[in-house]
């Protein structure tokens, strides 16, 4: 089926725009960039439609062969990959189109589209990979593109700082991923999914748990889970289409995909699977509390992404793999829409991101408002919008795994509804508090918004769990009406609370935050996690390296000792000068002298034995 075409098309777009883009007209850049991604979507669709129950794979060449070890450049497509392929190329195409409008006035136009295409190449490589090493190629590659696009406006120090942070925090996660791969090869002799997963059942549980936990470290980095989530909120420094595509809809779900892909390892490592659930649930609740108090519209949605990714991990960890992937898909729709809508708002206000300077935009940018409302309702879990089905599937599975997980998840769902509608009310209702002249975005922006709005409304009817029925082991619990009802009530209550606090009694929010005092400041300042990391890790490492290792140990002790030997032998050389006239000859003497001593010494050792 020529699977390689799917990533190769955007790669070609990257090369063309990367090399010649600066000389191209904008129209030409657009046609190359968007044409290649849309064609990739078409080819992916054709591939998926031709796909049966059985996975299909292609081998291109042996990438690394050494000793008895062999890793091929192999692609494969199965039902899980199919979901990812369509989400990535479909949502990716819409965001590419949106970017035409959003980036229209930016100086780095062709560079932006080249990077986006490069991202698509790596992301598609990631999901098509038939072994861990090729997956890792995509994994690192999307991280690179994330770095490049976060720091896209490289004049801003905050942007390039955020890019570095993203790359380095991800590297910490990748450290775990790499160690997992090393262990897999040592114990399975291969990195190919087929042989590894086939043999997983026969390996000791301790080993599988170690591997699974190390993979989870990687997933926590890429999918912004506690404690490695800190890069994602900062990543909002990048242009908004990047936040939507990479930092909401696709790349950050790579960790979820990787854990789901590795399910044959995880189901034999229950402790690790429990850890997935716990980390996911904690992250979901933790990030949601931070989201309650943010004023930057993109930051709200960023913490929301961290939180929603936590839900997906909760789904995987409670054994409901297909529910996790289901939520991955619906989240891609409504979260991409939230970001693109936020981008449209920011665009309308010429760069304003602080919600305290917005308000009343409902009438001024109606298309943005209505589409964004679809996303807000979807994420709040209101039936029958997209988020309802997938979140419900996860929560029900959580209940059957451990009821307390359900309750924490449900409360988090209430908080989610609250902060999203808080953002909606602050942005679109009341009086306009800023000084710009808001204007509705052009069609090239509103059409992708509308398409995603449709998907957010009806996307839940794409029954991913049915599609994946035979793929994952069946752990789905029966639907229980009361559980569903409670989580819906939680969502509606969150919306109602936001309505009361920001619409009915606008002063109430301030007085609540004032009465909470220290707790509010703790949440507002994101629990000071960045500051703690900085003081506990970054500063000690940098200062320790500078003062202790470099100035103290390297320049002081080691080099000092070497120079000390040098100067004392200079003294010795002064003595030798009495006997010798020139430097070269003194070297020669040393050569002979030293050799003789060593030959004698070796002879002595030989004689002794």
């Amino acid at each position: 089926m020529q699977l390689w075409l799917i990533p190769a098309l955007p790669l070609a777009g990257f090369v063309i725009n990367g090399v010649f883009g600066r000389r191209f007209s904008k129209t030409l850049v657009n046609s190359v960039a968007i044409g290649s991604v849309v064609m990739a979507f078409a080819w992916a669709l054709k591939t998926v439609l031709g796909l049966g129950e059985a996975p299909y794979s292609e081998h291109y060449f042996d990438w690394i062969v050494a000793g008895g070890f062999r890793v091929g450049c192999d692609f494969a497509v199965d039902r899980l990959t199919a979901v990812m392929l369509l989400v990535v190329t479909g949502v990716g195409s819409l965001i590419h189109i949106y970017s035409i409008g959003y980036m229209a006035h930016d100086g780095g136009y062709s560079r932006f589209f080249a990077y986006l295409n490069l991202f698509m190449f790596f992301m598609l490589t990631l999901v098509l990979a038939a072994n861990y090493l090729v997956l890792f190629v995509g994994w690192e590659g999307v991280g690179l593109c994330s770095y490049l696009l976060i720091g896209f406006w490289f004049h801003k120090k905050s942007a390039t700082d955020a890019g570095n942070k993203a790359f380095i925090v991800n590297r910490i996660g990748d450290y775990g991923f790499s160690l997992a791969m090393l262990l897999i090869v040592v114990n399975f002799g291969s990195l190919d999914f087929g042989p590894v997963f086939g043999a997983a059942g026969s390996k000791p549980e301790g080993l599988l748990t170690t591997i699974a936990l190390l993979l989870l470290v990687g997933a926590c980095g890429k999918s912004a889970q506690f404690p490695l989530y800190v890069w994602l909120p900062d990543a909002m420094e990048g242009p908004t289409p990047v936040s939507a595509l990479i930092h909401a809809a696709t790349m950050v779900t790579a960790g979820v995909y990787m854990v789901a892909r590795s399910f044959p390892i995880y189901i034999h490592a229950p402790a690790a699977l429990e850890m997935v659930a716990v980390i996911g649930l904690f992250t979901a609740a933790f990030a949601a509390t931070i989201g309650l108090a943010q004023n930057d519209i993109k930051k709200v949605f960023a913490y929301s992404t961290v939180s929603q990714l936590g839900y997906m991990f909760l789904g995987l960890g409670t054994g409901a793999f297909s529910a996790g992937i289901y939520h991955l898909m619906t989240h891609a729709f409504f979260k991409a829409l939230l970001f693109l809508g936020a981008g449209s708002v920011i665009h309308a206000l010429s760069g304003e991101q602080d919600m305290r300077n917005m308000g009343g935009l409902r009438k001024k940018i109606p298309v943005t408002f209505w589409t964004l409302m679809c996303a807000a309702v979807a994420i709040s879990g209101v039936p029958p919008f997209a988020g309802f089905f997938s979140k419900d599937a996860i929560l029900v599975a959580a209940y059957h795994h451990a009821p307390w997980m359900y309750w924490v998840g449900t409360i988090t769902a209430g908080m989610t509804a609250f902060y999203v509608f808080r953002a909606m009310f602050m942005t679109f209702f009341g009086e306009y508090r800023g000084h710009e002249h808001p204007h509705e975005s052009p069609a090239v922006i509103t059409v992708p918004l509308s398409a995603l709005a449709v998907l957010s409304v009806v996307g839940g009817f794409i029954r991913v769990p049915v599609w994946l029925e035979k793929f994952f082991p069946v752990a789905e619990a029966p639907e229980e009406f009361s559980l569903v009802a409670i989580s819906v009530v939680a969502g509606v209550a969150g919306i109602a609370l936001a309505w009361v606090m920001y619409m009915v009694k606008p002063g109430l929010a301030d007085s609540v935050s004032a009465s909470l005092g220290g707790l509010y400041r703790l949440v507002y300042n994101k629990y000071f996690v960045d500051e703690i990391y900085d003081a506990a890790v970054v500063k000690p490492v940098v200062n320790g390296s500078r003062v202790v290792l470099w100035r103290g140990l390297d320049a002081g002790l080691i080099d000092g000792a070497a120079n000390g030997i040098g100067s004392s032998s200079q003294g010795l050389g002064g003595w030798l000068k009495l006997l010798q006239s020139g430097n070269i000859r003194s070297y020669a003497t040393w050569v002979v002298f030293g050799s003789v001593i060593l030959v004698v010494a070796l002879g002595l050792v030989g004689a002794v034995r």
Binding site: F61, D62, W63, I64, V65, A66, G67, G68, F69, L133, E140, G141, L144, G151, F154, H155, K157, T160, G163, N164, F167, I168, R171, I172, D174, Y175, S178, L179, L182, L183, V185, V186, N187, G189, L207, V541, V542, G544, S545, R546, L549, W550, D554, I558, D559, A562, G566, W590, V591, G594, S595, I597, L598, V599, A601, L602, V605, G606, V608, R609
Partner: protein, 514 residues
């Protein structure tokens, strides 16, 4: 006259030819130098295409008596281990001539003569099969580098050149003693003959003797690598050397050390090498982490790259002393990778120096605005250096870590920290030099790549991609050579003690990680 002799002879011919060129024709000197270097490179490609996979042992061999008493042979030949290091030398020499085109304007003739002499010495080191001949080439390569640093270097060039010379000499004296001792015992300098004597049980050493001999060779090579804590000559030499000197030093000369470890230390004294391996690996891992941490806080770009070399070369030593097939293969691949990507880093830092006349990171900023292509190429090189998959270093680092993990998983756990740290220091460097607002001196002086500079850097970038994406072009001969070395190292141990068990087997045979 084999092709190999031609590859060795052409730089020497170029060296002598340059000596007879009149001093007042610098353009002719440059033209002649690059012509000779390019012809050598093209000839060396023939070695890669001509090296046969179905023939064991050394190929393109020549064995004639050079000095009758004591009997010293001119015995040269290559296998997969030598092959790529020879080509690395012949590739980088023309690149070094190109990048020195403008920046070297005094004693032009001598400069290029020394560069070709250096190439001659380096190729000689990698193809010698006679221990004495090896030692001669080892010393021959030292002299031109000493002068390249001492004459064309920066302010503290004399200090750096002398330091470089003394450190290397200190090691090579020990090695010479060991070589002489080996001759006294074996009656020959011929490497293959010595290995045969040992394999046949006709030549053997007591554990004490073997350990001393091993250490004599090891120290010479470890200084050259350089292995922590013998590395302090390197940052000084790099900072003071002219760009071409830094490139040849980092890319090729450091590999003399790792090549020596793999070619001589491991097969000749395998038992001592295995006994010392855990200690050496501890030093290698310290070097990986320490080099990276110290690189992170350097204010000078060349020093930063120099310390990063300590870190990268730590991976090579780790791979060699893991005594696994994957470790060996990764180590050799990593030697080449480091040659390509760190060589390119020095070339690029040289470009920046030619523009701004400073190596201090603080004197730069926002270079991406006036010089987008220079920034792009620097970024690709940075990414190669930090081991991004699809670029060359990833393959080497991965294989080394995999080999280390097979031997002892804990080694991999510590060594892999270096992969995190490399991203820290390189991305921070990149941010401070290329991103941000552009200060006036940068705007005034920094311009984008010209054609000559493109011609010098593009081959290296192409190699980064090629070696990262399609290893079958490079890896098979390396694997074959390493299998032979691994077998030799086992064979020589068999006469003394039983092999240590599991960790030294190949991938498929290992049941569980420790």
């Amino acid at each position: 006259m084999t092709l190999l002799n031609l590859v060795l002879g052409l730089p020497a011919l170029g060296f002598f030819a340059l000596l007879f060129v009149p001093r007042d024709k610098p353009q002719f000197v440059r033209g002649l130098a690059i012509a000779m270097a390019l012809v050598t490179f093209i000839a060396s490609i023939g070695l890669a295409t001509g090296l046969r996979g179905d023939v064991a042992g050394m190929q393109f061999s020549t064995d004639v008596i050079w000095i009758p008493t004591p009997e010293i042979h001119f015995h040269v030949g290559i296998d997969g281990l030598s092959l790529w290091l020879v080509i690395l030398s012949t590739l980088l020499t023309p690149i070094c001539i190109l990048i020195s085109w403008r920046s070297i304007d005094k004693r032009v003739k001598e400069f290029y003569a020394f560069l070709l002499l250096l190439e001659f010495g380096l190729i000689g080191v990698f193809i010698s099969l006679d221990l004495f001949l090896f030692y001669v080439f080892w010393e021959v390569s030292l002299v031109p580098m000493y002068f390249l640093i001492g004459i064309w270097g920066h302010e503290r060039r004399i200090y750096a050149a002398v330091k470089f010379f003394l450190f290397t000499m200190a090691g090579s004296v020990l090695m010479l003693a060991a070589i002489i001792y080996l001759y006294n015992r074996a009656g020959t300098f011929d490497y293959a003959a010595i290995l045969n004597l040992m394999a046949g049980g006709k030549l053997s050493f007591s554990p004490g003797q073997e350990m001393l001999l091993f250490l004599a060779f090891f120290v010479a090579f470890a200084i050259k690598v350089p292995l922590f804590p013998l590395h302090t000559w390197l940052p000084d030499a790099h900072v003071e050397a002219p760009t071409a000197g830094s490139v040849m030093l980092a890319s090729v000369m450091l590999k003399m050390g790792t090549y020596g470890l793999l070619r001589y230390c491991v097969p000749l004294f395998s038992e001592a090498a295995r006994r010392c391996a855990p200690w050496i690996i501890v030093l290698a891992i310290i070097g990986i982490i320490y080099g990276a941490l110290v690189a992170m806080v350097q204010p000078n770009m060349k020093k930063l790259v120099a310390y990063s070399s300590v870190s990268h070369l730590g991976f090579v030593v780790l791979g060699i002393f893991s005594f696994t097939q994957l470790g060996f293969d990764g180590a050799v691949y990593q030697m080449l990778n480091h040659g390509i990507s760190t060589g390119a880093l020095f070339v690029l830092v040289g470009y920046l120096y030619e523009r701004r006349h400073s190596l201090a990171i603080a004197d730069f900023g926002g270079v991406a605005t006036p010089a987008p292509w220079l920034s792009t190429i620097f970024l690709i090189t940075t990414l190669a250096s930090i081991g991004l998959p699809t670029l060359n270093n990833f393959v080497g680092e991965y294989l080394v870590l995999q080999g280390a993990a097979q031997a002892n998983f804990r080694w991999a756990v510590f060594a892999a920290i270096g992969v995190i740290l490399s991203a820290c220091y390189m991305l921070w460097l990149y941010q401070r030099v290329f991103y941000g607002d552009t200060p006036e001196p940068v705007t005034d002086h920094v311009y984008d790549l010209n054609h000559r500079e493109w011609a010098a850097i593009l081959p290296l970038v192409a190699m980064m991609v090629w070696m990262g994406v399609y290893t079958p072009s490079f890896l098979p001969p390396i694997t074959r050579a390493n299998t032979a070395i691994l077998d030799q190292s086992r064979m020589n141990v068999r006469f003394r003690v039983a092999l240590p068990p599991a960790p030294y087997l190949s991938a498929r045979e290992v049941p569980h990680a420790r």
